[in-house]
């Protein structure tokens, strides 16, 4: 469903991604782990077609996302929901306007109708619809993150959701809420997720396949067992601080 093929990319003249390739089948999920600055957010931007690679291709459902007409690109993007780092809510709009943004912009639905749908979506992400008329700045970080998820869901009914650091900067309770919500998306709505994070302990609990990226290169792509057994020195070094949480998770989930 999503395939990156030998992607090279950078900003201005500075190369950020080197020969990045991976493949995600329908319904599959992936955690992309890596230190900050390693190019994780950049990969998501490329999948959304916000930037085009210098060389190599990004395919969504077999279509190269670059070089498409804007209109067709929009059609392709409809399958993808994106939750940006920190949520990226529009801070001059109310929560209701944020959640219903796509409908306001692209459909002729009445305002009351859109509000109704926004309300339902807020309930789905376990938020009190009473916050509809508040501004993003009045909410806590965890609530904003969930509003962003609601916004991405309501937009397009995506088949796949991209999460950029969904739990970074949240307290343990909020982290748990967001993670439960992501699990709910996978189980109940059957949405595939790609989660980018440098909080490895959280990441390990959310999916069964992992990509580890360092300095713009993929150093690992595989499942939990392979991850544990990996003899790649880069991977070992990267995971060293998290040995404990890995064995923890393994005990809980696999034994």
């Amino acid at each position: 469903m999503i395939r990156l093929d030998k992607v090279n990319f950078g900003y201005n003249t500075e190369q950020v991604l080197h020969d990045v390739s991976f493949h995600i089948k329908p319904g599959e999920s992936r955690i992309i782990m890596g230190g900050s600055g390693s190019g994780k957010s950049t990969i998501l931007r490329l999948i959304l077609g916000l930037d085009c690679p210098w060389s190599g291709e990004v395919y969504i459902d077999g279509e190269n996302i670059c070089g498409q007409k804007l209109k067709h690109l929009q059609e392709i993007r409809k399958q993808i929901g994106m939750v940006f780092q920190e949520g990226a809510l529009f801070d001059s709009m109310t929560i209701a306007e944020n959640v219903g943004y796509y409908l306001f912009e692209h459909t002729k639905k009445k305002e009351s109708e859109i509000e109704q749908e926004a309300r339902r979506m807020l309930e789905f992400v376990d938020l009190d619809p009473g916050i509809m008329d508040k501004l993003p700045e009045e909410l806590s970080g965890g609530m904003r993150r969930r509003v962003a998820i609601a916004r991405a869901l309501l937009s397009t009914r995506p088949k796949i959701m991209l999460f950029d650091e969904p739990t970074t900067g949240l307290d343990p309770q909020a982290t748990k809420n967001v993670m439960n919500l992501i699990r709910k998306l996978r189980k109940e709505e059957n949405i595939a997720v790609i989660i980018v994070t440098h909080q490895i302990a959280d990441a390990l609990k959310l999916a069964d396949k992992f990509v580890v990226i360092q300095k713009g290169r993929i150093v690992f792509d595989g499942d939990m067992d392979e991850l544990r057994g990996s003899e790649n020195p880069e991977v070992i070094k990267f995971l060293a601080p998290f040995r404990e949480s890995i064995s923890d998770v393994v005990k809980r989930n696999f034994v």
Binding site: L50, F84, A88, F90, D91, E105, H106, S155
Partner: protein, 260 residues
């Protein structure tokens, strides 16, 4: 040393190139669909009302100060009756456009850059793109249109207020009759002068819009970056206004000699 000079020159050329491309995109995005009418209206309101007080305040005091200086000087020649002519000329051609331009640059350019810049640094521009909305069309075009409408309007208000400021001085301090002053003002309201007085703010509006939006869209590096690009935006816009003002005066003079 020379290498550093060369590097900053290359940077400068690069920035100018980028700014030019961006400006073209901005102008193009004012045409075609979708048009964000309510955003444009909102911006007109914000820019107009936001700068009105500032423009009126500076206009009236600058007009008075100028009238004081001129009337003292003219009195030496016994030609106080010409005060209105000089005031009208200087205000409509130079003072009004520059004052209004600089005030809007200070008040509005900073606001535009800060707003778009903070949207950029919190990924809101990318979020717009991901929802199929062109941020240039949604954010930059309405501001450009609003500025092109409002800066000339503010300039005309500034002109009127400054001339009224001069009138107060003329009557109460220089003891010129109201009719003398006003008919002298009127004499200089020629097509050429008024044309120049309106052309300038239109050009200034483009400058302010291009620079402030460009600086916003190219903001890098979090809160600090927003602060930096906001300062740069006001600085560059103000300097550009003064330079372009000179060029315009020179060019328009040679074209419009017959009408001035």
């Amino acid at each position: 040393m020379i290498r550093r000079l060369f590097r900053s020159f290359r940077n400068f050329v690069y920035e100018i190139d980028q700014l030019t491309r961006f400006s073209f995109k901005m102008v193009l995005s004012c045409f075609g669909r979708p048009i964000y009418i309510s955003e444009t209206m909102e911006q007109m309101y914000l820019i107009g009302i936001g700068s009105l007080f500032l423009v009126v305040l500076t206009g009236i005091f600058a007009g008075q100060a100028m009238a004081l200086q001129f009337s003292n000087e003219l009195a030496d020649f016994g030609s106080k009756n010409y005060l209105g002519r000089i005031m009208s000329l200087a205000i409509i051609r130079e003072l009004g456009p520059i004052l209004a331009g600089l005030m809007v640059a200070a008040r509005v350019a900073s606001g535009i850059t800060a707003e778009i810049g903070s949207m950029k640094s919190s990924n809101q521009l990318d979020a717009l793109l991901s929802f199929g909305v062109d941020p240039i069309r949604k954010l930059a075009a309405p501001r450009l249109i609003a500025l092109v409408v409002m800066v000339p309007v503010l300039t005309i208000i500034c002109d009127v207020v400054a001339i009224v400021g001069g009138w107060i001085i003329a009557i109460f301090l220089s003891h010129i009759t109201s009719t003398t002053y006003l008919s002298a003002v009127n004499e200089r309201l020629t097509f050429g002068n008024v044309f120049m007085g309106v052309l300038k703010p239109v050009v200034f509006a483009f400058i302010i819009a291009f620079i402030s939006c460009y600086k916003g869209f190219t903001t890098k590096g979090g809160t600090k970056g927003v602060g930096r690009s906001t300062t740069e935006s006001v600085m560059i816009a103000s300097i550009s206004i003064l330079i372009v003002n000179f060029i315009l005066t020179k060019v328009v003079f040679s074209f419009l000699k017959g009408y001035l």
